[in-house]
Symmetry: C2
Subunit: 366 residues, 2 copies
């Protein structure tokens, strides 16, 4: 494909600022190295193998995925893949077992049922799958509730062929406070994690991997006692929520959706052609509400979304766009926006450098 100019792109179009991506990767790699943590980025944010390859070249020790399909797509560039999701059901398990034999696979899970399905599939496929026991450290979404359950599951793991106990995993998705206000919640989380590690260790279960972390808690990961590995996803691109928590600077937002103003008929607002189908309807953590803000005019909020319409609120700005004018929107939650686009355009200094197909979308062909 010829490289189109930024001006000629059909909107809405998902843009990735490569200068910022590279800086974001350097920063997290340096942080992980400084604190002796392994860095295993969650690739569900971008769903693009070329970007996973960039992360691995930048120093990532392996990658994280959310689905067997993402694992398949990423296996073209990654040799060490952690599926942070229990593969339940015959079709998902079969897809996972079709990964190339050289891929070092591990999986997070929290139930005997998931473990039994996985181990049976692994034995049939003649492979050994590493397992991390998923802990609930306060998010209350998934994860075993207490140390004794973790011990039970780990013991069952050690007694089962086709799987191998490798440690524990958690996701602190409940921590959505600004980086500077995380002291209490991180202390509680760290104390709870130590309790799990101690009880497992007391039961003779060594946990070589203690994997956790998210982008909001990224820069305080070193305060979590016992952690060996971080798995930030959003950090490669960042987004409005991440900036509003202070987990990135505004200038570290590398992803935006290019959109065109299509109507200014209703006073006090302008309508752009990036709606929920391009930005995703994800609640904001920023005080201004709405679903995103303009990259170059962060005071302008996307107040409402329908599928193909984004409503820009013009009350707080003297800017009055004309129909046909283009803007770039930073969405609240970048992962959900990326998932809506067939391709991402790499841009650098105002020029289009290339495009990637977002091949990790969906759950794979039957």
């Amino acid at each position: 494909m010829e490289r189109p100019s930024l001006e000629s792109l059909e909107t809405p179009a998902a843009l990735v600022d490569m200068t910022r991506v590279e800086a974001n990767l350097r920063r997290v790699e340096a942080y992980a190295r400084q604190h002796g943590l392994k860095w295993r980025p969650h690739t569900k944010t971008h769903k693009v193998p070329e970007l996973a390859a960039l992360q691995l070249r930048a120093g990532a020790s392996g990658i994280t995925v959310a689905t067997p399909h993402e694992a398949q797509v990423m296996a073209s560039v990654a040799e060490d893949v952690f599926l942070a999701y229990p593969p339940v059901g015959a079709a998902r398990l079969e897809r996972l077992m079709r990964l190339p034999a050289h891929v070092r696979l591990s999986v997070g899970l929290d139930s005997r049922e998931a473990l039994e399905g996985l181990s049976a599939a692994a034995r049939r496929a003649g492979r050994t799958v590493g397992v991390l026991v998923e802990l609930d450290l306060g998010m209350h979404r998934v994860g075993v509730q207490g140390p004794s359950e973790a011990v039970d599951l780990a013991r069952q793991l050690e007694a089962t062929d086709g799987v191998e106990y490798r440690g524990i995993t958690f996701y602190p998705g409940h921590v959505r406070s600004p980086v500077g206000s995380q002291d209490t919640v991180l202390k509680e989380l760290s104390a709870r994690l130590e309790e799990f590690i101690d009880v497992l260790s007391g039961a003779g279960l060594r946990s070589p991997v203690v994997s956790g972390g998210s982008t909001p808690t990224l820069w305080r990961s070193h305060e979590v006692v016992g952690l060996t590995e971080i798995r930030p996803g959003i950090n490669i691109f960042n987004d409005r929520n991440t900036a509003s928590l202070g987990a990135c600077a505004w200038e570290e937002c590398a992803y935006s959706v290019l959109a065109t103003v299509v109507s200014t008929a209703v006073s006090g607002q302008a309508v752009i052609d990036a709606g929920s189908k391009a930005l995703a309807k994800e609640e904001g953590l920023a005080p201004g509400g709405g679903y995103g803000v303009l990259l170059e005019r962060p005071e302008v909020v996307v107040r409402g979304l329908s599928e193909e319409h984004g409503l820009l609120e013009l009350a707080g700005t003297s800017w009055r766009p004309r129909v046909g004018e283009r803007v770039r929107v930073v969405p609240n939650h970048v992962c959900a926006s990326v998932n809506l686009h067939e391709r991402l355009w790499a841009v650098r200094g105002g020029a289009v450098e290339g495009a990637w197909a977002v091949t990790g979308r969906g759950w794979g062909a039957p």
Copy 2:
């Protein structure tokens, strides 16, 4: 592709109950015929040309689309296409003008800028595009604000080559009250519409097409004076919001997402593998909140969503699912859910009848 069994489908999977779809189409066709209204379904709900063909065979007079890409995809089966969205920007206009010459195309718009771009592109392409002037009848999203503006735009239209004034269009997306409580809002809307028609008519502008309607207002469309055409989208599938407004019966919900329970570790809830990436995070109009309910157990609400996780609330049910059990979820807003799936599975009486690629997703290849 061989027909898989329903039991073997990898989850999440989007299912369409064909018996219900056929009944839904028969019902709306009979309603439109009874009231002398043309039926031009909005195909953005399903984004599948085969389903547009089914609607046309069932008596639709043409179809509605939201994007030039949808128009391209649907042009394989439809000869009369209304783009209910202003095509602004060179790339969108070029895509639209690449439609086969035999397609009778019309477009809704609300600005001189959009009109100028469209007419210039139409002249270059050597085609005549019908235009409906978009009115704001209370939604305050897009649309000219008053009759004099409608007259101005229609006059400019009549004076411009490449385009042809065909009438007016509106979308009553602000009407989200139960069908039985729409009296006042429909009276206001109808009075405002008559005012537009009268002023246009007084200015010598005949409006052969008066196009409007949505699924929530569908069954009361005949009360809107002057209306010639209805454009329901959701009605082919229906969804939780539509049922909660009384615009369909629960037994008319034809779309659901098949999902697998993947965790029951946290008490009082079960986690399924249909999250915001499968169901869409769309606010509910139903009193119970959440993002969807189970088709077979509508008392069980999807209380929370993350990308790959749906949280089923178990407080109001004695049902205690096991990991591996499968459920079908009716989402709040079906269009947003369909847009997340690569394919829809047609099912009838518990068997898979076939599958369609959702080819109208996205905005088209560059």
